[in-house]
């Protein structure tokens, strides 16, 4: 029945995302980490991570994202980079910059780090530090300059939401002044903490339209100097994103405690077995585990996706979004206008837009005390 049937080999995990830790000195309310971060106590050891790298590399993984939380919190980061680089990974450090200094940037270079992505929360100090929940802006500027000084390719990442959606021009001016090679204007992905704060973060349609126009103008202006990626928030589209390029098709994410998931939001889905690298090889997890096969191919689909001519383009969208918004992970992502739940999503957006002016829901900041409260069932907004 399935197109990617049993006689074709499973695809290769080209992208390994290593969430080294959920500790983070920042508290971004748009963070897509799970809200139960306080539960993840047993982080993998250095040797366990190295084993994960070796096994994933042997299966064909070429890109390694070192992320978190804040990966700089791990004191063995230099060792992990060096080992990964020796194995032949292209190593990407995805960081807030907090916890970095010139010595460490130098050490990473020596270890063979290929690229550093620094995230900013806004283009001005006040909003940046408010969203980050800490005074990080000046330090981030300094780190961005050092990234360039040590000749790394630099990607600056700005997560956009209602509070900074109108700053796109200032953001791109800042990125140009810092000589970024690439800028990612990433729409907030409504998982984890971001989902909890969705009412306060969802930009209005008007904001999104304006931001897009500005981004396109800069793309032309900066051509050949700075590459700008701008993705429209998918809630405002009629077709969903090809989430993760298909379930278990390219991406393998390992959580700090060794849980393997096909995408960083998948831990919110019910009915998964959550294989852990402490108990299984990467080969077993990727090729044979129930989780990674669950939404592979097309056999799991329900209508309208099942017989849709576009299913090879978007794979029915995001499983986590389908689950969060419709209660069934096998449904079409309701961003799709063919989904019977699409109307509900539009109504919700209209409601959010109407409430945007009042802005009454307080932001819940992403930190361990809040996570512990949420685990106890305390409602924070």
């Amino acid at each position: 029945m399935t197109m990617a049937g049993s006689n074709t080999e499973p695809p290769k995990p080209l992208w390994l995302l290593a969430e080294l830790t959920y500790s983070c000195p920042l508290q971004c309310p748009y963070c897509s980490n799970p809200v139960d971060i306080a539960k993840y106590k047993q982080e993998l050891t250095t040797d366990e991570w190295i084993r994960v790298f070796r096994e994933a590399r042997a299966m064909g993984a070429a890109q390694l994202g070192l992320s978190g939380g804040e990966p700089l919190v791990r004191q063995d980061l230099e060792i992990l980079i060096a080992e990964a680089r020796k194995l032949g990974f292209y190593t990407n450090l995805i960081t807030s910059g907090v916890g970095m200094d010139e010595d460490r940037i130098k050490a990473f270079k020596k270890a063979g780090l290929d690229h550093i992505q620094v995230s900013f929360q806004a283009s001005d100090e006040e909003l940046n530090n408010f969203i980050a929940g800490t005074d990080a802006f000046e330090h981030k500027l300094e780190m961005a300059r050092l990234v360039k000084k040590y000749d790394y390719p630099m990607v600056l990442c700005f997560v956009l939401h209602r509070q900074n959606q109108e700053q796109v021009a200032q953001i791109l001016d800042l990125a140009a002044a810092l000589e970024a090679d690439y800028v990612e204007l990433a729409a907030t992905q409504y998982y984890g903490w971001a989902m909890l704060n969705r009412d306060a973060l969802m930009p209005t349609r008007e904001q999104v339209k304006k931001a897009e126009a500005v981004a396109h103008e800069y793309q032309k202006k900066m051509q050949g100097k700075m590459k700008i990626y701008y993705v429209v928030p998918d809630y405002y589209e009629n077709r969903p994103k090809a989430c993760m390029n298909g379930w278990g098709s390219v991406f393998l994410t390992i959580s700090p405690d060794g849980t393997a998931v096909p995408c960083h939001a998948a831990s919110t889905l019910p009915g998964l077995t959550f294989p852990n690298v402490k108990d299984h090889s990467i080969e077993y997890i990727w090729n044979d585990s129930e989780d990674f096969n669950k939404f592979r191919g097309y056999g799991w689909m329900k209508e309208p996706c099942k017989t849709c001519p576009e299913r090879e383009k978007d794979f029915g969208g995001c499983r986590c979004q389908a689950y969060m918004l419709t209660g069934d992970a096998r449904n079409a992502d309701p961003v799709c206008s063919k989904s019977p739940h699409h109307g509900e999503l539009l109504d919700k957006l209209t409601q959010l837009e109407a409430a945007a002016e009042k802005n009454e829901k307080p932001l819940v900041f992403r930190n361990m005390p809040n996570s512990r409260k949420l685990l106890k069932g305390v409602s924070l907004n």
Partner: protein, 92 residues
């Protein structure tokens, strides 16, 4: 600046050319991305090590593939690679 016979080519900083066993081809790796190369592109780019001129690269390829004139292919590929930002060139 045009790529010419005496240009020396190297892979641009931030990009990496390597053989990928799992893909059975050469690839270019860059921040969060990968491009698979066909056999000819792999053969050409792996010789662009920052010491050889384009003429050297062509001469070297001719030794390995004596029956084909690769000159045009080499220039075409290098122009495309340059447009993509994969390579840098300087003149001797």
């Amino acid at each position: 600046m045009q790529i010419a016979g005496n240009s020396i080519i190297k892979i641009a900083p931030g990009f990496r050319l390597q053989w990928e066993e799992a893909q059975n081809c050469h690839v270019i790796l860059y921040p969060e991305g990968m491009v698979k190369l066909n056999a000819a592109a792999g053969e050409i780019l792996k010789r662009c090590d920052g010491t050889k001129t384009v003429d050297d690269v062509i001469a070297d390829l001719t030794k390995v593939f004596p029956d084909v004139d690769l000159t045009n292919d080499v220039y075409q590929l290098l122009e495309a690679a340059h447009d993509n930002g994969w390579i840098k060139h300087r003149t001797t």
